[in-house]
């Protein structure tokens, strides 16, 4: 598809961190990927406990992970920060008791097919 290694790496990292969050905290969830020439859209949608204080959850090092999750080297409180910093656009919304929605866009620096 002509995507650079850097773009693929960013997208993989964003998808992987999102997946870890879903597996660690949600009841169920999905990751949706849409690739067009100029960008990669990744959505992580879950049903679960949701995030009460998004601002707090976005702070580096803040985590509600259990000991079991931490023992494996997850739950460092860096996941959402990493997702944000490796994305060009980052949106998050959440409802306590319902779930969390993340939307990330990574630009590919390729030109649109239509342009």
């Amino acid at each position: 598809m002509g995507l650079s290694r850097d773009v693929v790496r960013k997208a993989s990292l964003v998808a992987y961190e999102s997946e870890i969050n879903i597996v660690s905290y949600a009841r169920k969830g999905m990751i949706r990927l849409r690739v067009v020439p100029e960008s990669i859209l990744i959505e992580a949608i879950d049903e679960g406990q949701g995030i009460a204080d998004i601002e707090l959850a976005m702070q580096p090092g803040y985590s509600t992970a259990t000991d079991k999750i931490r023992e494996m080297g997850f739950g460092a409180g860096m996941g959402l920060c990493n997702i944000k910093s490796f994305s060009d656009t980052f949106l998050i919304s959440s409802e306590v008791g319902k779930g969390t929605y993340l939307k990330m866009i990574i630009k590919t620096n390729n030109r649109s097919l239509n342009s």
Binding site: R5, S12, L13, Y16, M72, G73, F74, M78, G79, N82
Partner: protein, 114 residues
């Protein structure tokens, strides 16, 4: 410096990726927090960790690491090793502590570039 020279100097046990020992090691990173390693390590780094579960192979593949060094003589989990063989990621075992392993690798790499 290639991986084979580091394997020899530190007497590392090679568990996977025997055919990748000519890989150039450009630097190193030490960490057990996967998000930290994903955010801050670089392509070509030799990653020193004490985590042994299969997610380390995913991280090393994602970041194009030269290899993974497990410390304190830790053996990789069975599914970790299977995944590493499939992905062609060298997993090496050091009998030394994380501190000493990283220190020695650092010395080897900085001597080379000095």
């Amino acid at each position: 410096m290639d991986l084979a020279s580091i394997v020899k100097a530190l007497n590392l046990k090679v568990k996977s990726g025997e055919d990748k020992l000519n890989t150039e090691v450009r630097g190193g990173y030490t960490g057990d927090l996967l998000s930290d390693v994903m955010a801050n390590s670089k392509e070509g780094d030799l990653w020193v960790t004490r985590q042994v579960h299969q997610n380390i192979v995913a991280v090393a593949t994602l970041k194009d690491h030269a290899g993974i060094v497990l410390v304190q003589g830790s053996e990789p989990a069975k599914d970790t090793l299977e995944k590493a063989m499939k992905e062609g990621i060298p997993i090496l075992i050091s009998d030394l502590s994380g501190f000493e392993t990283a220190g020695r690798i650092y010395n080897l790499l900085s001597k080379k570039t000095a």
